[in-house]
C-alpha cells in the first residue's frame, strides 16, 4: 500500500476514533505510524475533520421539532386506528379494550418513567448548579481511570464500582429524590462528565435512556447491582459517544 492509497482509505476514518478497531483501517494506520509525512497528514486531516464535526453537531434542531415529532406520531396512530375499524360499534368496543389494557399494563411503567425522568432532572440540576469538589475528581482512581479511558463504552459492560466504599474513598455523596448517590467527575476529549451511582433502580434498565433538561443532558442505565446516570453540559451527542 502506498501513501496515496493509505490517504484514500484514511479519509473515511472518523476523527472520534470510532473506527479504531475496524480491520479495514489497520494497515493504513500502521503505515501512518511508520511514515512521518503520512502521520502528519493524518493528524491534520483528523484535526480538520474534528472541527467540522463539532461545528455540525452544534447546530440545534428547531425548538418545537421534538414535540412535533411526538405529536405527529400520536396523531398518525389515532388516524390509522380509525381506518382499520369501519364499524363504530366495533371501534368503540376495541377502544374500551385498549383503554382497559392500557390502564392496567402501562400505568406502572408510566410511574417508572416519571420517576426516572425526575431523577435524571435532579442529576442534571446537580451537575449544572452544585459545587463539585476536587475530591470527586481524585477519588476512586480505578473507577475514574476506567471511565476516563476513551476506549471504554460505559454502558457496554459492568463497571469496576464498589459503591459501598465510595464515600470512604472520598467521593462526593448526596441524596437525590430519596436515592443515595455517589458522584465522580471525569473528562474525555476535553469534555467534562459527572457520573452518579446509586443502588439499582427498577426504572432504569440495561439500555441507556437519554434525558435533556435545562440545557443539560443525561443518560441512565443499570447493571446487575447499580444504576448509573451520567450528565454533561456538552449535549446528547457527547453522551452517546461514551456509552
Amino acid at each position: 500500500m502506498d501513501n496515496q492509497e493509505a490517504q484514500f482509505i484514511l479519509r473515511a476514518y472518523r476523527a472520534n476514533g470510532a473506527d479504531a478497531t475496524d480491520p479495514a483501517f489497520i494497515e493504513a494506520l500502521e503505515q501512518a505510524r511508520r511514515d512521518p509525512s503520512l502521520g502528519r497528514w493524518l493528524e491534520q486531516e483528523q484535526a480538520l475533520d474534528e472541527v467540522i464535526s463539532r461545528k455540525l453537531r452544534a447546530i440545534a434542531p428547531p425548538a418545537e421539532l421534538r414535540k412535533n415529532i411526538l405529536a405527529g406520531a400520536k396523531a398518525s396512530r389515532r388516524r390509522e386506528t380509525r381506518a382499520w375499524y369501519n364499524s363504530p360499534v366495533i371501534y368503540a368496543l376495541a377502544a374500551c379494550v385498549v383503554i382497559v389494557a392500557g390502564l392496567s399494563f402501562l400505568w406502572p411503567n408510566f410511574n417508572g418513567a416519571r420517576d426516572r425522568t425526575k431523577f435524571a432532572e435532579l442529576v442534571i440540576n446537580d451537575a449544572l448548579h452544585e459545587q463539585h469538589t476536587a475530591k470527586s475528581l481524585e477519588a476512586a482512581s480505578t473507577l475514574r481511570n476506567y471511565i476516563s479511558n476513551t476506549s471504554h463504552r460505559l454502558a457496554a459492560a459492568p463497571m469496576p464500582v464498589n459503591r459501598e466504599k465510595m464515600e470512604e474513598l472520598g467521593c462526593r455523596t448526596l441524596t437525590l429524590g430519596g436515592h443515595e448517590v455517589a458522584e465522580v467527575c471525569f473528562a474525555r476529549a476535553g469534555l467534562v462528565y459527572h457520573l452518579y451511582i446509586t443502588p439499582r433502580m427498577k426504572a432504569l434498565g440495561s439500555e441507556p435512556k437519554f434525558f435533556e433538561h435545562d440545557g443539560g443532558a443525561a443518560a441512565g442505565w443499570s447493571d446487575a447491582r447499580n444504576s448509573y446516570v451520567v450528565a454533561t453540559t456538552s449535549g446528547l451527542a457527547a453522551l452517546q459517544k461514551i456509552l
Binding site: F8, I9, R11, A12, R14, A15, N16, A18, D19, D22, A24, Q44, A47, L48, D49, E50, V51, I52, S53, K55, L56, R57, A58, I59, A60, P61, P62, L65, R66, N68, I69, L70, G72, A73, K74, S76, R77, E80, L106, N109, A113, K209, F210, F211, E212, L236, A237, Q240, K241
Partner: protein
C-alpha cells in the same frame, strides 16, 4: 412499540437526523418535515425491524429515501463520479474554528449532492463507512471515493466562505450621509 420506547428513539436520534436532513434539503422547514416523516415511517413500520442495533442505520436510510422520494419529478442527481478530483484546498483547523456552525453547514450545503450525503453522514460520526454504504445503497468503494472528493469540494467551499467574510465593503453614499 410502546410510547416510551418511541420517545427514547426520538430523543436518541432526532438531532442527528435533522442535521442530515438540513444538509440534504438546505431548508430548515424541509429538514424538519423530513425528520418528522422519518419518525412517522418508524412509528408505522419500525416494528418490522428485527435487529435493535440497526435502528440508527434504519432511520438514516429512511430519511435519505424520503428525501429522494420527495425530490421534484424530473430533477435528478448528475453523476459526478467521473469528474476529475478537485485539488484539495488547504484549510487550517484554527481558521475553521473561527467560523460559525451555520457557515460550515452552508459550505456543506454547497457541495454537490452525490458527495454531500456521504460527507454529512461521515461528519455526523454516527455511522461507519459500511453503514453509510448501506444507508445510501452504494458500494463501499464508492463511499470512500465520494468522501475523498467531497472533502476536497467542502474545503474549497469553506475557503470561499472564509474569503467572503473577510471582504470589507466600501461604505455606500447612504452610510456616509448617515455618518455625517
Amino acid at each position: 412499540m410502546s410510547q416510551e420506547a418511541f420517545v427514547q428513539i426520538v430523543d436518541a436520534h432526532y438531532s442527528a437526523l435533522y442535521r442530515f436532513a438540513l444538509s440534504l434539503s438546505r431548508s430548515e422547514a424541509d429538514a424538519s418535515d423530513l425528520t418528522q416523516q422519518t419518525f412517522y415511517v418508524w412509528a408505522t413500520k419500525g416494528h418490522a425491524l428485527r435487529e435493535v442495533g440497526k435502528v440508527k442505520s434504519w432511520l438514516f436510510t429512511t430519511l435519505y429515501r424520503e428525501f429522494l422520494r420527495g425530490r421534484r419529478r424530473g430533477e435528478r442527481i448528475t453523476s459526478l463520479d467521473t469528474t476529475p478530483e478537485a485539488e484539495t484546498a488547504a484549510v487550517e483547523p484554527e481558521a475553521l474554528e473561527a467560523m460559525d456552525s451555520q457557515a460550515v453547514m452552508s459550505a456543506l450545503q454547497d457541495v454537490d449532492e452525490v458527495f454531500r450525503a456521504p460527507l454529512t453522514l461521515f461528519y455526523l460520526q454516527e455511522l461507519s463507512y459500511q453503514e453509510i454504504a448501506e444507508a445510501l445503497e452504494i458500494p463501499i468503494g464508492t463511499v470512500m471515493s465520494r468522501l475523498s472528493r467531497g472533502k476536497a469540494q467542502l474545503r474549497a467551499r469553506l475557503n470561499e466562505k472564509r474569503g467572503a467574510t473577510n471582504v470589507v465593503s466600501f461604505p455606500t453614499a447612504k452610510d456616509e450621509t448617515a455618518n455625517g
